[in-house]
């Protein structure tokens, strides 16, 4: 497990970081928590000329809520910070449910949510969570910041929509339009196992009806799957047995699983449907 030769830079400011990325473009790789990049380097699956370690860059580790309710998760905010956040526990049930299910405690103390999303592993948990929440990534480059909707961010397995010279500055969850419920359910064989199936379900309720819904799937396709049709059938009405069943069926149809040693195609689709059902059962609000 010995990586190929690479150069290493540790910028001390966002400007230095942007300069380095501008100079090296595609030949540079950002190192955040290193929990995916370092294994890739050691296996020689990745062999960048330059590794740009952003851990010394100030101002990237924030986890903040704007007055309007927008949540911002900085590029250096670690999984463990999210896991332990009182704010998430109180107001972001999907994120609070997902955080302790990502990897294992060692990885969580180092890895970042933004890094996970940039890595665009179809088995990564955070991409589904942010997708279900209708969130976006803020990219930063030579020309400043620009938002990239989560639904556009992942362009393929291990491929994201960042341009050369850009890095992901933060992940953003928009303010809710109703009361938030939802959860993240993950079938894993062991702690630290990637998802055989993961399902993020996010609902916002108002006036006894679902006003916004998001369902996204982990590990059952070549990339994170946005089960938009499944979410859409829930919107504009109260949750009912019928809509839940429809959503479960549509989500299972949206899945594109492959048979492998973790399970058959039928099984994975079945678990998607089961988890959507279970997730929505937890999504009911007492009195809205």
């Amino acid at each position: 497990m010995y990586p190929a030769k690479f150069a290493y830079e540790a910028p001390r400011s966002i400007q230095e970081l942007l300069d380095l990325l501008a100079r090296h473009g595609d030949d540079a790789k950002v190192l955040a928590g290193g929990q995916s990049l370092v294994p890739m380097l050691k296996l020689r699956f990745a062999a960048p000329e330059l590794v740009v370690d952003i851990n010394g860059v100030p101002g990237l580790d924030h986890l903040t809520e704007d007055p309007d309710g927008t949540l911002r998760v900085g590029a250096l905010c670690r999984h463990v910070t999210l896991e332990r956040s009182a704010l998430l526990a109180a107001e972001y049930p999907v994120m609070a449910a997902a955080a302790p299910l990502v990897a294992d405690p060692m990885v969580r103390s180092r890895g970042t949510m933004v890094g996970s999303i940039c890595h665009a592993d179809p088995q990564g948990d955070w991409a589904s969570v942010l997708m279900a929440l209708g969130g976006h990534i803020v990219a930063m480059g030579p020309r400043g910041k620009r938002p990239i909707a989560m639904t556009d961010f992942v362009v393929g397995p291990f491929q994201n929509a960042l341009q050369p010279g850009e890095f992901a500055y933060e992940a953003v969850v928009p303010p809710p339009v109703g009361q938030r419920t939802g959860t993240y359910l993950k079938l894993e064989r062991r702690v630290g196992d990637f998802a055989t199936v993961g399902v993020a379900v996010s609902l916002e309720h108002s006036g006894g009806r679902v006003v916004r819904a998001g369902i996204a799937l982990t590990g059952v396709g070549p990339a994170t799957i946005n089960a938009a049709d499944a979410a859409d059938v829930l919107v504009g009405k109260p949750l009912s047995e019928e809509t839940v069943e429809q959503a479960a069926r549509l989500a299972a149809e949206a899945a594109q699983p492959q048979a492998d040693h973790r399970g058959s195609v039928e099984y994975k689709r079945h678990v998607v449907a089961t988890f959507v059902r279970r997730g929505l059962a937890r999504g009911e609000v007492v009195a809205a």
Binding site: Y2, A4, D104, V191, G192, D260, T274
Partner: protein, 793 residues
């Protein structure tokens, strides 16, 4: 003068903290990778990406051009030195570097030696190899199919993929018993390939000194003396010029018994470069190429009388050996100790056949915390017991009660020739049933089922033969399976003990000193234990097969008794009485009838160097070689309860009760640690752990993302109980324990899940019982096979 308190001095029964942990928990162990010699070079291996292919071209020129690359070895270069192939411990041959074909994914093809491991890896990347792919064979059925490509076309006279055929038992008597049976119960299953997967991978630092002609090899081996013998025979170096040192070992579990090609590469590379060469496998290298466990198919029947009595058993096993028959197992039986199956039951008649198959998979080793296929034997046995009880409509516990041997029946001969030494099987079972609350659970289970909840209980009872060997039936390369101990008591009464075993987590540095304390009354803290250096250790066969305590541990006792015998003469001299008038109590000789007149063992030690009787050789030391009269036979009863989620097939363990009778316990804490470790591995095998292959022969399970080791998080809690039946033929009554729970445990978990499903159609689900397999069984109401290849569709 009051006698010493044995537990206080760290003798038998003392749960002494492990001496070795003092350095391990401080990070002060010396593992192979901690060894750095001046001028040392580093070696990396280019492995085959394909499972079966003809090599059409190897071009190493670009690798040679990389600055810092010192040597690139190919099969051709090995062949020039007659080293392209080496003998295996199972009397087959194995490629050291591939010359003609590659026969499994991960096979060693080229070796690069360089100034540092990064450059060595760059060198590997620069090697160009062309392959012409051949069809891959990944299971015995494909291997035996007519027209299958012959994997071992290197072997003259090999016309198919059969590796061996073997049988034991009485075929005709068995057929007769089956003809008379009221009920015949049958079962087919696959015990998947697993891997011992020690955290520290295999490796070596080879250091050939051209000046002295001495070869020193630091090596992760569980059996340094066997390696020395093998090196002497393969490399044709004089044995006295070979020193094998096994430093602290980061886990073995059977993985570090075989002799691997990498050791040979490192040795040759050191000879050719004149410099020390370090080779350490990466995790994938270890998982993809080194000794696996299991991968065995069972097709078995049991002949039963309606009242529950087992009349006979008949088993056929197909073993998937991989590309080379490299099992490191010392019995004279081709399929190891598979025929130890059913030893705990009173069954008079049986017949077992086995066939080994070459496949395009990694070669054997074949142990994973087990004595050479005992794990398969006990798993098959206990799965068959469950199926038979179900077929009879009989309660699982009652069916075992009817057939377990009675206490008066020992020693008992099994239909396959073993002599079972002792045990209290019914008592162990009862302790287990009481602990779990068997009858109450059955009521709970029925009530839960009404509500659609699936609870299940699984029992596994077994005795296994431990402690290879005795010299009649066990040898490695012709060397008999004894072991040895050498005890030197210094003049101040402190001592050093060396044995031919090699600890790798078992705690020998702690427990051997306890045996000395028990025999001599020297406090365990005053005894230092050293193992693993062939220049200093007495000749022994190493540590595996739970053999250390049964064999080397017995030798420790015997060496200490020799020391005591000499000390007795010295005591007589000191006390000025004749030897017959000297009595012994722990730590002290005294004059019969005058107990206040005595000489402590320490006083005798001092006198051995300063005041010995006339005509006596000075010194107080002894060496003992121990050839056990029989194997030792611990018994265990494991009971597991589970709940299965009918919607997802996910199952949770509710409780695990373990009752182990491993004879006298030297250090109860270490024994319990061994049992918990074994149960953890049993749970792993039952729930998540396997190596499988796709149709192209790609291994799935060649890294820790796919090959799962359970963590503390999901590992269930264990409730441990004990029964003690001293081993009648071991000096201190101990039996082995290192493997029991890993051997007997898996069936308890599987039986519990099958019981929870409670559908006659679902006779079996192959391990690991992944949620999708359990769900599929629930959906189809049929058994679920897990045999490779795994599908891609």
């Amino acid at each position: 003068m009051t006698a010493l308190d044995e537990v206080k001095i760290g003798g038998l029964g003392a749960s002494r903290l492990r001496v070795e942990d003092q350095r391990f928990v401080r990070g002060r162990g010396t593992y192979l990778d901690d060894i750095k010699l001046p001028g040392m070079l580093y070696m990396e291996i280019v492995r085959s990406p394909l499972a079966h292919a003809r090599i059409t071209r190897i071009d190493t020129s670009k690798a040679w051009q990389i600055p810092g690359v010192r040597l690139v070895l190919t099969g051709e270069m090995m062949a020039q030195r007659n080293l392209a192939w080496m003998p295996t411990l199972s009397y087959d041959t194995q490629a050291v570097l591939a010359t003609d074909k590659v026969r499994f994914q991960g096979q060693e093809v080229v070796v690069v030696v360089a100034d540092d491991p990064y450059i060595a890896k760059d060198g590997c990347d620069a090697v160009e190899i062309d392959y012409e792919p051949l069809p891959a064979i990944v299971n015995p059925e494909q291997s035996a199919a007519p027209g299958a490509p012959i994997i071992r076309d290197d072997k003259p006279g090999q016309t198919d993929n059969t590796c061996y055929r073997w049988e034991v038992g009485d075929r005709e008597a068995t057929e007769r018993a089956f003809a008379e049976a009221d009920v015949v119960s049958s079962l087919k299953l696959h015990y998947p390939r697993s891997h011992p997967s020690p955290i520290e991978c295999c490796g070596a630092v080879a250091d050939f000194d051209a000046g002295t002609g001495k070869l020193t090899v630091y090596m992760t081996t569980q059996a340094p003396h066997i390696v020395r013998a093998a090196v002497a025979l393969i490399a044709e170096l004089p044995e006295h010029q070979i020193r094998i040192v096994s430093p602290d070992i980061g886990g073995g579990f059977g993985n570090k018994v075989p002799v691997y090609p990498g050791y040979v590469h490192a040795i040759l590379a050191s000879i050719l470069t004149g410099r020390p060469v370090k080779w350490i496998e990466d995790k994938t290298g270890n998982l993809i190429s080194t000794g696996f466990g299991r991968d065995m198919y069972l097709d078995a029947q049991m002949a039963l009388r309606r009242d529950g009595k087992i009349l006979a058993v008949r088993m056929h096993a197909d073993t998937d050996q991989g590309a080379f028959f490299a099992d490191a197992q010392p019995s004279k039986f081709k399929v190891g100790l598979l025929h130890s199956a059913f030893a705990c039951y009173d069954i008079g008649i049986g017949y077992i056949t086995a066939q080994g198959h070459y496949t395009n998979k990694a070669p054997g080793g074949v142990a994973y915390r087990c004595s050479f296929r005992v794990t398969e034997a006990m798993f098959f046995q206990e799965r068959m017991m469950q199926a038979a009880a179900t077929d009879l409509g009989m309660d699982q516990a009652e069916f075992r009660r009817i057939n377990l041997r009675r206490d008066v029946a020992f020693p008992a001969r099994t239909p396959f020739g073993f002599l079972v030494d002792s045990g209290q099987y019914h008592k162990c079972l009862q302790v287990g049933l009481d602990a779990i609350g068997y009858d109450e659970f059955r009521r709970e289970q029925a009530a839960a089922r009404e509500k659609g909840r699936l609870l299940g209980i699984g029992i596994s009872t077994m005795t296994e033969p431990l402690g290879a060997g005795n010299s009649r039936e066990y040898d490695i390369l012709g060397i008999k399976m004894f072991d040895s101990a050498e005890l030197r008591v210094h003049l101040t009464g402190k001592a050093i003990l060396r044995t031919g075993a090699r600890t790798q987590g078992q705690g020998h540095e702690t427990t051997w000193a306890q045996i000395v304390a028990h025999e001599l009354g020297i406090p365990a803290d005053d005894v230092v234990v050293e193992e693993g250096d062939t220049d200093t250790a007495p000749y022994g066969m190493g540590t595996y097969a739970s053999r250390s305590t049964p064999v080397a541990g017995a030798a420790v006792s015997m060496a200490a008794r020799k020391v005591r015998a000499k000390a007795r003469k010295i005591a007589a001299h000191l006390l000025e009485v004749s030897e017959e008038d000297v009595e012994w109590e722990l730590g002290r000789f005294y004059v019969r009838g005058a107990p206040e007149r005595g000489a402590s063992i320490q006083e005798c030690a001092m006198a051995a160097y300063s005041n010995m009787p006339d005509g006596m050789e000075p010194g107080l030391e002894a060496t003992a070689y121990y050839d056990p009269p029989n194997l030792t036979w611990p018994f265990a009863c494991y009971i597991v309860t589970v709940e299965v989620d009918p919607e997802t097939g996910v199952w949770d363990v509710l409780r695990v009760v373990a009752v182990d009778d491993c004879g006298v316990r030297i250090n109860p804490m270490i024994v319990e640690g061994q049992i918990m470790g074994g149960l953890t591995e049993a749970y792993a095998m039952a729930s998540m752990q396997f190596q499988t292959y796709d149709a192209d022969g790609n291994m799935i399970g060649a890294n820790y993302m796919d090959y799962l080791l359970p963590t503390a998080w999901e590992t269930p809690g264990f409730e441990l109980h004990e029964v003690v039946t001293p081993c009648p033929h071991h000096p201190i009554g101990a039996k082995g324990v290192g493997e029991c729970a890993a051997v007997g445990g898996p069936a308890a978990f599987v039986n519990a899940v099958i019981d929870a499903i409670g559908d006659a159609g679902v006779r079996n689900i192959d391990m690991p019982l992944l949620p999708d397999r359990v769900w599929t069984a629930l959906q189809t109401r049929q058994s679920v096979s897990g045999a490779p290849p795994v599908g891609r569709s």
